[in-house]
Symmetry: D2
Subunit: 203 residues, 4 copies
């Protein structure tokens, strides 16, 4: 299973960059996952401008990002919260990517996590960010991991100081990827499959 991860922050010392690296390590530990960890900075792009799109087409950075998403089975983004909502930078990337048809993000499994120096762990930003993701037709996982007080949450090896937090993050990643790996049953054989499922007593 191909898992693409990046932090929606351009700053080198970003807490979200630290968090996504830890997440990528956890995902690497799962036997069935291939990790593709990138930096948001790998996908340079201007602000969306319809005239630019008409004259020069989709910028290369956008195309590269879209391709990474397209090739992944699951995408994990660690996003900061800016002003209680989705960063303009991440939204701008979504806006550009949405100009490519068919939509590279549609029907893709997404998980959002986030780190914030504040006490709320970016929960408001996460709620706000969900709307464009669902409108773009992604399967956005309902759970969220928010790292509060991120300025004091990492040790000098850039690991999470609190082992409970680390455990919770790992648990969520595993749960998400387990969900994302569900097998689609060909439509014509669904009746048999479901019969079997209905006959099996539920716990």
């Amino acid at each position: 299973m191909k898992v693409f991860l990046f932090a929606a922050s351009l700053r080198q010392g970003s807490y979200n960059k630290k968090l996504i690296r830890i997440a990528a390590e956890h995902v690497r530990g799962l036997p069935f996952c291939e990790v593709d960890l990138c930096e948001f900075n790998d996908f340079p792009m201007p602000m969306y401008d319809g005239d630019l799109e008409s004259s020069k087409g989709i910028p290369e950075g956008v195309q590269k990002l879209a391709q990474k998403i397209q090739m992944a089975d699951a995408i994990i983004i660690s996003s900061p919260e800016y002003n209680g909502s989705i960063p303009g930078t991440l939204k701008n990337a979504l806006d550009w990517v949405s100009r490519i048809k068919p939509l590279p993000v549609a029907k893709k499994q997404f998980l959002l996590i986030g780190a914030s120096p504040g006490a709320l762990g970016g929960i408001r930003g996460n709620i706000h960010a969900r709307t464009p993701f669902h409108i773009l037709g992604t399967y956005l996982y309902p759970e969220y991991f928010g790292l509060a007080k991120a300025d004091t949450a990492f040790d000098d090896k850039e690991q999470l100081l609190d082992p409970k937090q680390d455990e919770r993050l790992k648990g969520l990643l595993t749960e998400f990827l387990h969900y994302a790996s569900r097998k689609e049953t060909p439509f014509e054989t669904l009746s048999e499959f479901v019969e079997e499922k209905i006959q099996t007593p539920k716990k």
Copy 2:
């Protein structure tokens, strides 16, 4: 596959009741689905009151609704939009149901559809309703079917006048139920499954 459906409206002539009956018919037509169509009125409940809960426990109507959800593999709700947002009645039902642990709605596949006499087809209400559903840990399908101008959308046999709308509804229901029926692979065998998936070239 057990599919539980209801319209989040108490009014007998409700457009959402008409729409959910049409939806139930379509689901019945899928060979792998068992339909459980109820009325919101089948689950009478008071407004949420912590004192009531302490003295008398969870009301019977709430328990019945929770059980229906618990037993279903997929839940489809047709909800009106009240004041650009989730009806208080539906939110009240969610609030009550959320008092039962483990959460009956968590990790359940949900689809929201809706009908409205207005021109927007209840799209604002749908966006607003999504938040408590995702916070409660449901797998809420990203797509939405909104029937605009619902007061003139049905014929005298309570079918949709516009065959394109009907086709679009049917398509969404099928797509949703196909998604909801994906098989969970036991964790220990995931590596094999995924290997196979990665080796298969993508179209």
Copy 3:
């Protein structure tokens, strides 16, 4: 200035009832304010049902609530957060009130505050609750006071233990009511007023 206050909770020991009583005390201390403090329980109402409305009209509890709002210059509601969003009970009250025309809440000055036993102080619920308030045309104040860990925030005289919290609450109430009391200038004299304002150098 008439200020109407209530907590959107029915439970007698509700943290929000405690908080709104403290808020009412602060408002009473402002020389220009008349306080009307009620309990949500004073406005009993069923869940919204269009058939009920057709057969029996707007319930008495709703009419009473609407009248209180209508007569107030400013309305302050302390609301719990249920499942990361507006309580169904409060939304149901808004839905009922919105059936009265002209809308009793439109162009009214509102402030939302809230108390929650959790660490987030009901901030998610506040964000979610804002949508129907703005769609109903209220002037909803942008700031929010959220009391986190409300189960340990009050002393045995039902005052806030933390004087900084109390100061912050009082500051917000004063600021809100100052804003809400701004005088409307008759349209025809606006040009003079504004001229004067433009000529006055800004600090």
Copy 4:
């Protein structure tokens, strides 16, 4: 009264640029208003990057935009909807501006309008855009003017074809600016003012 207006679109032929020019004309017609109409392109800025901010400070385009907002009594933005939500470009501008302290947008009167080629007139984008505006402490007017099917809504003189739409836009602008021009009463004299207001019987 100084009114600052711009369309949150970079494209030259943008429907929102057309709409904001019409809005500016209406505002010019109000005797008490000074119009400052700009283009979003007048405020070039990179995507927000904390490292850039540390090394080079706030970009000039951001400073200029912040100053325009700071000097205005009311701000009107015509914003497109991108993917059912706030454009990344507009959010990015807010994110940059929010780095300037004190917040230039706080306690400022804002109105959002919008144009969209779709049938919904950008209403979803407007709802989504409201959250960062209220979190940043703006007084965001509750009403919205959304121009649907914007690709066929203008005549060849770039006026609105439908006089009712034009009337509705003008009405909203006037109402908003009347509200925004309310006089703040010095705190110490509030009691007298309010007394007078309370004694005046309401209609």
